[in-house]
Amino acid sequence: MFQDREKISGHQALMLILAGGIGNIFVVMSIPAVKEAGRNGWLSVLLGYGIAAVLGLILVKLGLRFPRKTIVQYLPKVLGTVPGKFLGLFYILGWWGMTGIIYRENAELVRFFLPQTPVILISVFMALLVVYAMRQGFEVFARTAELLVPVMIIFIIFGLVAVIQEIDFKTLLPVLENGLGPVIKGLQYQLPYAMETVLFMALWLPCLSSQKNAARAVALGVPAAGLLLTVMVAMTIAFLGTELASHLVYPIYYMLRYALVGYFLTGLEAVFIILWLTSSYLEILVFFYPGVIGLAQWLNLKDYKPLIMPMAAVTVALSMVPHNVVEMLALDSLKNPTILLPLSMLIPVTWFVAVLRKIRED
């Protein structure tokens, strides 16, 4: 099976967590944050990643009970065959559907620069890369993450530093003028964004060569991603004001376009496109892996590789479902409370049941 053949190191685990935690979320996350919590949207992000870190540690505890099994395999053992299998299917189909949205997000932004080019062509090219990387195996993906994630983080920090002189942080005040209510309401979008990486980890946790490293990777990776994104969302709100921050399709793109480095260097959006394609590649694989491998394990197949091509074709086709960018953004927001939030709640529930019933792998 998948987890017996492919092994990753502790450092690669950290990079995978960051890849899922930052992913391409940084481009879209400030919109629902501002829509729900207004000027305090950044607090939702901070809180969301804080909770995700705790849930991630619970997942590691749960994973230690089944060191050789993925979540799809141990769910029937813990919750009983029928409900476990059913929830496993929900997990698989959820990721599967969401992969389509990520493909479309990637294509929509590229389409902004290539308005005449058919959207599906961009997705097909991306899918070719994804299929190629996936056929090489999980270790290869982990190594590309090891290579690309630091580049991505450096680019994001570079972009933020480039606009920091234009920002008046006073506009973030007053903090919490409407109480904690809106911030908690914003969590329904922000917690799922933060949980993407933890839920992905539920799949690759048994691949980790030394299980001790798992807790360290979560405790380091999730808060680091959270802090970076909190700073980013706070800067977005301070720079754009609440209305523009929630009405722009890609607030970060707008900020980088405005940035001026050293009074002569503009046009940092070129950096953004590199950043965007890199992060999209990582994010699509983060979403695609659980669907493919989960399905193979759910059906008790010996190998997952024959599933890659047909499922890639299906996800690209799914990416064409939204008619326009507005529907795409609505779907992206909708997936959070409907798919990712129940899945996030599944983790503490499963752990609780496992502890209660004293179930662990022999």
Binding site: F112, F113, L114, P115, Q116, T117, P118, L121, F125, E166, K170, T171, L173, P174, E177, F239, L240, G241, T242, E243, L244, A245, Y254, R257, Y258, L260, T266, G267
Partner: protein, 401 residues
């Protein structure tokens, strides 16, 4: 072996196909690079008239020695339509090239267009992927297109757009105008309670006499003062001292000269010149009997530059008296600006409302609805701390008796 060659060849072919930009490749010689744009509202028809400066790269490349540089470096085109997009689209029918907005530096709006509301133009500039929000916004009292179509003299740059951008970006050297780009405007719309301002640009005619006694006149472009918006509609103008009043409040004064009357006898009509070195302004909100009160704290440091006859700085109290006069000048400029903005235009360009919300969020919710009525009668206290720090290399002036 053959397999390897085939793989390399096909990947090169694929790379060539992909890197050319697919359906959307636009070569440089198919682009019309815009360097300045002006938007007007036509009186009779109500149509939008747009005037553009398009750079001629060939004319620029030939150099200034006159060898082949008969061509003007910019090409002025204009067209009208029922919306900005409409006007631009009909432009492409005779420029024959795709308009490229990425290098546009300035956007000039005519008075009529600005009075009707600048929101649709700003919306286009932000929504379209071409224009950059770093583009400067200027408003003129007359027709904006005229500024781009009139041949002007006395420029250092060959492209008017770049010349104008330098002019406005250098505003801090005199503190007579404001520096506002599209992002400033749209982020103020986004923040809600605060209204934008913009630089004011005008065409001035100056008379000159030639060597042979023939008289002529030349036209110059000047950026002086500011336009005040209320929401997205032009409400009125600030002249240069009032604009500096605005800059004192927002803390954006760079350099500039303050003229005060000498406090000693025998100076004649020569004023004392004070050169501004640094300045800062803070807006604070307070609550007095349940009503918001604004306190503006300005502190400034300057250096003496020109002293009239009879000056004796060694005498105690002279510097202090100059400082007091300096503070009065600053205060008057601020008050003049406040009067215009509060009573005449009723436009909150300083962000007073934002400051109240920031410091008294609970009270703000009660008065938010009536802010439009409260603002013109808002009590504003101005506190100015003006200091004279230096006198240059001389203390007292040296003049023949």
């Amino acid at each position: 072996m053959t397999k390897k060659v085939l793989a390399v060849c096909s990947s090169i072919l694929l790379f060539l196909m992909v890197s050319s930009g697919c359906w959307d490749s636009v070569e440089l010689d198919r682009r019309a690079i815009i360097s300045a744009a002006a938007i007007d509202l036509e009186d009779k028809t109500g149509r939008i008239k747009v005037t553009l400066h398009i750079t001629r790269p060939n004319a620029l490349a030939r150099g200034t020695d006159g060898g082949g540089g008969q061509q003007e470096p910019v090409w002025v085109v204009s067209s009208a339509g029922y919306s900005l997009q409409d006007a631009l689209k009909s432009l492409t029918t005779y420029t024959g090239r795709e308009l490229f907005w990425g290098d546009n530096r300035i956007l000039i709006l005519g008075k009529k267009a600005a009075e009707k509301g600048i929101f649709p133009f700003i919306d286009f500039m932000i929504r379209d992927e071409g224009p950059r929000s770093r583009m400067l916004l200027l408003v003129t009292e007359g027709e904006a297109g005229k500024i781009l179509t009139t041949r002007t003299e006395g420029k250092l740059e060959r492209i008017v757009g770049i010349e104008l951008e330098r002019l406005v970006r250098n505003y801090t050297s005199a503190s007579r105008s404001v520096l506002v780009d599209l992002h400033d405007v749209i982020s103020k719309f986004s923040r809600g309670i605060i209204s934008p301002v913009a630089s004011r640009i005008e065409l001035v005619e100056s008379k000159m006499e030639g060597d042979g006694g023939e008289k002529g006149s030349q036209k110059e472009i000047r950026v002086d003062g500011a336009a005040v918006f209320k929401g997205d509609k032009l409400a009125g103008w600030l002249n240069a001292p009032e604009t500096r009043g605005y800059l004192w409040i927002t803390g954006d004064v760079g350099r500039g000269v303050i003229l005060v009357k000498p406090p000693w006898k025998g100076g004649g009509t020569t004023p004392v010149n004070l050169n501004i070195r640094r300045a800062s302004g803070i807006i604070k909100a307070k609550m007095k009997d349940g009503k918001p009160v604004i306190v503006i704290e300005v502190s400034e440091e300057s250096e003496l530059e020109v002293l009239p006859r009879g000056a004796d700085l060694d005498r105690p109290g002279v510097i202090q008296s100059l400082e007091r006069r300096q503070a009065t000048v600053i205060k008057n400029e601020i008050k003049a600006c406040l009067r215009k903005a509060q009573q005449e235009y009723k436009s909150d360009i300083f962000g007073f409302g934002e400051e109240v919300r920031r410091q008294f969020p609970a009270e703000w919710k009660k008065i938010e609805e009536e802010w439009g009525e409260i603002y013109p009668h808002l009590e504003v206290a101005v506190q100015v701390r003006a200091k004279i720090r230096g006198t240059g290399l001389l203390v007292n002036p040296v003049h023949p008796e």
